[in-house]
Amino acid sequence: MPDLLIELFSEEIPARMQARAADDLKRLVTDGLVAAGLTYAGAGAFATPRRLTLAVEGLDAASRPTVEDRKGPMVTAPEAAVQGFLRSTGLTLDQLERRADKKGEVWFAVIRKPGRPAADIIAEVLADAIRNFPWPKSMRWGAGSLRWVRPLQSILCVLSSEAGSEVVPVSIDGFVAGNTTEGHRFMAPGRFAVSGFDDYHAKLKRAFVILDGAERAAAIWHDATQAAFAMGLEVVEDKGLLAEVAGLVEWPVVLLARIPAPFLHLPPEVLQTSMREHQKFFSLRNPATGRIEGFVTVANRETTDHGDTILKGNLKVLSARLSDARFFWDNDLRVARAGMGDWLDGLASVTFHNKLGSQADRIARIAALVREIAPFVGADPDQAEQAARIAKADLRSAMVGEFPELQGVMGRYYALEAGMPASVADAARDHYSPLGPSDAVPVAPVSVAVALADKLDTLTGFWAIDEKPTGSKDPFALRRAALGVIRLVLGNENRCELIPFIVSAVRRNQAAMMQAGKDHHGRHGTMSSIDAVRLAQSLSVKGIEEMTALVEDIDTAIMTLSQGLSSGVPPQEWELQRSSDLLAFFHDRLKVYLKDQSIRQDVIDACLAMPENCDLTLLVKRAEALNATLATEDGANLVQGFKRAANILTQAEAKDGVEYSYGADIKFAETDAERALFAALDAADAKIAPAMAAEDFTTAMAAMAALRGPVDAFFTAVQVNADNQIVRRNRLNLLSRIRTLCLSVADLTKLDG
């Protein structure tokens, strides 16, 4: 069984693409081999900055001959159909076979394909793989038309067995495969020949190339931690950086140094970010103090001076970078200690969105909304407002200008320097959270309040200007914001109805949109003056005559909208409409979120159909209880009973034109099963009503599930549609009690099955 070795040697492949590319090469080639009838025992793929390598072990020397029976037209079919079949099979009529079929005799073609040597197949498969390689971005070079991630330099393709090794005759756009490759660009220049994977692997190592990215990463980590330990420091773990750095070197050499003293007072996040983003350095932490005191850089070569020149150069670049950072930090501290006023003023000139005004406008909206939210999440409204007002101040700081990823982190430092309480400073850092689905959810009440207000304002704002996510497009990350709200509420078990908050945010964003429209397009903004007046009117307590004057004055319209907020004007129809549209978006995100928590989709639908569905915590409690109940035998069967009851009722109600909803009386009961059901319903009522009032869904649903026995017994023993109309009506009214009781828990009609 021969072994196959392929190497695609190129100019430097971006580190972030290497692992995926190795997998793709393996998949494309092995799939192609298998599709062509070759089997293999095993395959492994590797990547370095300059090469993608695939080794396939135990490959068939040739594909097996195949025989395919292909059914053609009926023997009696028109000549044209037969000719067509002959063309498609490449056979002549005398080579076809007649076989009996259900409907008569049919032409069959027996297509025999001889086995093909592996080398022929490999040559085709590899050329295809190169032409169709799924690089995230590819390019052309020179005068050629081939595309690769960077210019391809050479192809190695060798098939080896005990008998020896042969070059597979691959040829693509002027590249002819050979059996040679290169080692390290600087440490071992020149080409060498290889006979197979073991030979290749060993010779590469002698030529200062570690083929396996995981092995390079492990070597870097091992050497770095050992050397750090010797310095009394520890390496700050960073898996992403480790993978990236391992993709930048073929022969990793770890070099460590201490950060020069003038920079040690910078916040650890600043040091880490600057070193990681600009220099791809690992940070070294002093385990005793937690401070970042050193760095690790990974060079791609050994030198006669043991990396001295390289380390000096890196230190120099680092010093220049950190000088910048220190300059930013010192300047920022001055502004922060003076209360951050310069930044807050400056936010008025930073556009948040040209249809929604500046960052300062947005902060004013969030600060107003957060006061409404604060009581529901246990936060002090004054602190929450203060936090909202300063939470985005750091966007104007020099440090965040340089390192946008430090937004919030710097805000916390600066808020502390400005003398704000820790809860306010923490909110500045945490109000962006949670960002990703696995990001931690803030729990401090002030942070939670600001985080919620921030996201709700974002969502209602983009809803106001009709920038909702569509399909895969979500440029303002609104799905993430909605999921953030969901996780914040659920994670803290906050009890609040979202609609009132959404309504008030909708109102503020409507005012903001009109203001921004006016700023950009003159007096009436983008909406017609009539619309503006109509909106203002709907919120106003003033008379219509006064409002008509607004046609000339959008300012008053905007002010009226804003006043409508404070004067407690009830939600207007357009506001409720937009709010419920947004709530539906929340519900969609919630469904996705709960699906990941293994809650059935139909269970969520059954709970969404209940009132109070904008209280997410309540909604989820209900869904969890129902999900658990349905997982029990009683629960699952009761739902069947409920559905049967509901179906009978629906039919009877449709036929009789009345609603059977009242007045089942035990005195008309004729059977024990009926009487037992009366008793069971009374007992369930007695438990469910108080449990529901206490929002104890588990108890309520257990009581509901306990009806299963009596309901089943009822349906077994009793014919609902009795001849006696009094008995029939009584029974229908009894079924109605089942329906009412079950529907008080959740809308079970939404359940599957």
């Binding site: 100019e11 430097e12 052309r140 020149g190 060079a299 000096k312 150069g313």
Partner: protein
């Protein structure tokens, strides 16, 4: 296929001054067959704007050129105080079409020529995709790191002025001040010797440029008349379009003469005026995109025109 030539440097001597670095690069690329051009005589933001790169990377004709290009980035002015930032600086630009298969080795040879011994330094090609929204151009390549410092930009042009590049040009851009400071071991750009420090009249970079950095920083941030700049921008835009609207046939000479280069000059002008307006802080975030789009539209028009000229590979 490229055979990597052994990179054992013959006798590397360290350069003595800024101009020594420039002269060595000139000598090196001349010896590798590049036409050594002079800087373009207009204000540009980068060496790429020189028509020898932008326009000559279009069309099918082979091309090899190298040149120093003084470049202006008005927003980077720091009154000559920042050790690394300048509003006026030099780029060294090499452009070869089609890109030769050994371009990386040629490039590494140039580092050796200016005294960077690859046996002692850590030289790396780190992914960096280049894009110029104002030129409607993009390419793939790397930033080249030497001991953790970016010393060059290395790009294979894929598209310029909205046209696919075929053949593809290889473009190398060296930030001369930064590179020379590193090679010479200087910490502040103004302290860097410009000519040989042993010269009878030794001049530092600061002797030559400190005052102009101050003057232009003040000009760029506070002095420039924004109303005039805006007017000039509009004028350049109109002029570019007007020049390209001429019939290709010149009645006076009886020849086909497309005014691609004069029109492109107006595009360069518009681009620089936009940079100045940006530095003066009169362009809002939303307007910014619109201005960039307008310059790009001009660049596209010029590219469209250039490919209908002889130098652009047009066969009448």
């Amino acid at each position: 296929m490229a055979q990597s030539a052994p990179l054992v440097p013959p006798q590397i001597t360290a350069p003595t001054c800024f101009q020594d670095v420039i002269l060595r690069l000139q000598g090196y690329w001349a010896s590798r067959g590049c036409a050594i051009l002079q800087p373009y005589d207009m204000e540009v933001g980068a060496g790429t704007f020189h028509p020898a790169t932008t326009l000559r990377s279009l069309g099918t004709r082979a091309w090899a050129a190298a040149y120093v290009q003084p470049s202006r980035r008005p927003t980077d002015g720091r009154y000559g105080e920042n050790p690394n930032r300048l509003q006026h600086y030099y780029q060294y630009q090499v452009i070869i079409k089609p890109s030769p298969p050994d371009l990386q080795d040629l490039y590494l040879g140039s580092l050796v020529a200016i005294g960077l011994d690859p046996a002692l330094h850590d030289i790396r090609f780190v992914e960096d995709d280049w894009e110029s929204p104002t030129l409607g151009a993009w390419g793939l390549g790397w930033e080249v790191w030497c001991d953790g410092m970016e010393v060059s930009q290395f790009t294979y042009f894929q598209q310029v002025g909205g046209h696919d590049c075929n053949p593809v040009s290889g473009e190398l851009t060296y930030g001369l001040e930064r590179l020379a400071m590193y090679v010479l071991g200087v910490d502040h750009v103004m302290d860097m010797p410009f000519n040989d420090p042993q010269s009878p009249i030794a001049l530092s970079y600061g002797d030559i440029f400190r005052q102009t950095e101050e003057e232009y920083s003040r000009h760029n941030f506070d002095g420039a008349d924004t109303a005039k700049l805006l007017r000039n921008f509009e004028e350049a835009e109109v002029e570019c379009q007007r020049l390209l609207a001429f019939d290709a046939m010149d009645p006076k000479s009886g020849k086909r003469i497309v005014m691609a280069h004069p029109a492109y000059d107006q595009c360069i002008k518009a681009s620089h005026l936009f940079n100045l307006l940006d530095a003066r802080g009169v362009i809002s975030v939303t307007e910014r995109q619109a201005y960039i789009g307008r310059v790009r539209a001009l660049a596209k028009l010029c590219a469209d025109a250039f490919v209908t000229t002889t130098a652009g590979g047009y066969l009448a």
